[in-house]
Amino acid sequence: MSKTPGSASTLARTIINKYPDIESKPLVGNKVELVVPPEMIRDIVSMIDEEVSDALPESLFGVDLTEDKYEVIYIFWSHEGKMLVQLRVSLEGETPEIETVSDIFPGLDWHERETHELYGINFKNHPDLRLLLLPDELEGKFPMRKSFLTDRSRMDETGLARPKPRPKPGGESS
């Protein structure tokens, strides 16, 4: 285990020295954001695993930016350095793809499953991409995408009865 970097900017500099493609963006406090190209995500995450001995995989989630643009955000927290690293990966396409990191951080396994079912982002080589939260009939619908309508237009899919139109006041009684 190598030394634990004291601050987020030190870590960012270490990573950028090795992978010059990465852009870093300091946030408020001892926090840093790294903009990572999708093909390098495994390198960066394993580097965080090596550099930060007590990295806590706090969160992983997708953001839908519409027009087939997506972002996947990874958040890591280190208790010893009291620092937060946020990785931002931009993806494009109808079914965007990215490499899984669930073998490096098992805690991100379910986060990836959830992002897959809610956003349709495919995590390549993920061992188990079953549905996590959704019922079976919503498989492949990707409900957290902005294009997923939540109004009455999808009433037929649910199998629920359509609400009866209200009787008009004063109408004839049947």
Partner: protein
Amino acid sequence: MSPDILDESSVIWFGPQHVSAHGWAAKLTIVGDYIVECDPNAGYFHRSAEKCLEFRNFRQGSMILERICMMEAFLAEYPYIAAVEKIVDLEVPERAKIMRTIMMEFNRIHSLQFWWGQFAGELGLFVMLLWPWVDREYSLDAFEELTGSRHTVSYATPGGVKYDFTPKFLAKMETALKLVKDRMPVFNDMLAGSPTFRLRTEGVGHYTAKQALKWGLSGPNIKACGIPMDLRKDDPDPNLAYDLIDWEVPVINNEEHPGESDAFDRLLQRFKEIETSLDIIEKLLPILPEGPIIDPKARSKTNRLPEGEGYGRVEGTRGVTSVWLKTMAKAQTPWRAKIRGPCFASYYSLKHIVPGARFADFPAIFGSLDPYPGWWDR
């Protein structure tokens, strides 16, 4: 495990109609009395809270969150508010900061009392199930006095808090906390002091700190391994009052197995959590200043937020609770709100902790991790 062992295995669904699996189901593969494989299943409580948040404005959002985990409503609603306060510049009055912190710690005590009862009930002692729950009623009475509601409190709001402390509330809170303090030795005796409890929990649900970090466990589950990882100290929210006072991070260190924890350590850890919370409330109450409880411009400022991203975090009873908020300019609702529940990780980690345990130890393991289904299903 060799494949011929698995020939004699049988599959048992632990839940979702199981008495102690309240809204979740784990598929257990057992061979004889031992569990060889555990596949936790989520989704039985999924109400798509994150999608709902995209249709609520910034003052309503926190009310969705507190319905996710009603046991820690004050704590659950706060990350959203913290995220909103990171994006928009609000001046939270000093009094409101301290009041929020007091209520969060009070809520933590209440949530741990609930957990005591639940855990003891899962280990088969119904006396200990009901005693903490009787005490918990006093905490709920105090919540009701303050906010008008026992569980869905919606107390904090962007820019401050909604209701001021009244003398009647302070008296009720004192009663509740005094009861907690008086009964701590009793509960300590009945849980940690009970030989049968030690028989059931020691050496059960064992993991090391390194494993726990990889799985994403946080809060008491990792503090029990001896790592003082506590967001109240590490990354104190600027609008809370944890940095105003001097307090110790509750952490236990088991000499027998340093850096590791079993179910019994996690119980001791949660006892310490209550002591710390009592300590924090005791230190905060005297320094509570007079003054306004909410930023007067909070309402107009939170109608529409500037474009930005905010990450609000709080150390919940069960671990790191956070909301990541992305807002677009001139929008009344968030573009994306990601809720990170602490139990998402602890429920997932059952997959790794449980194999190798006896079937009868399964309730002890998941009980000691304090899972709350709302946090992973949302």
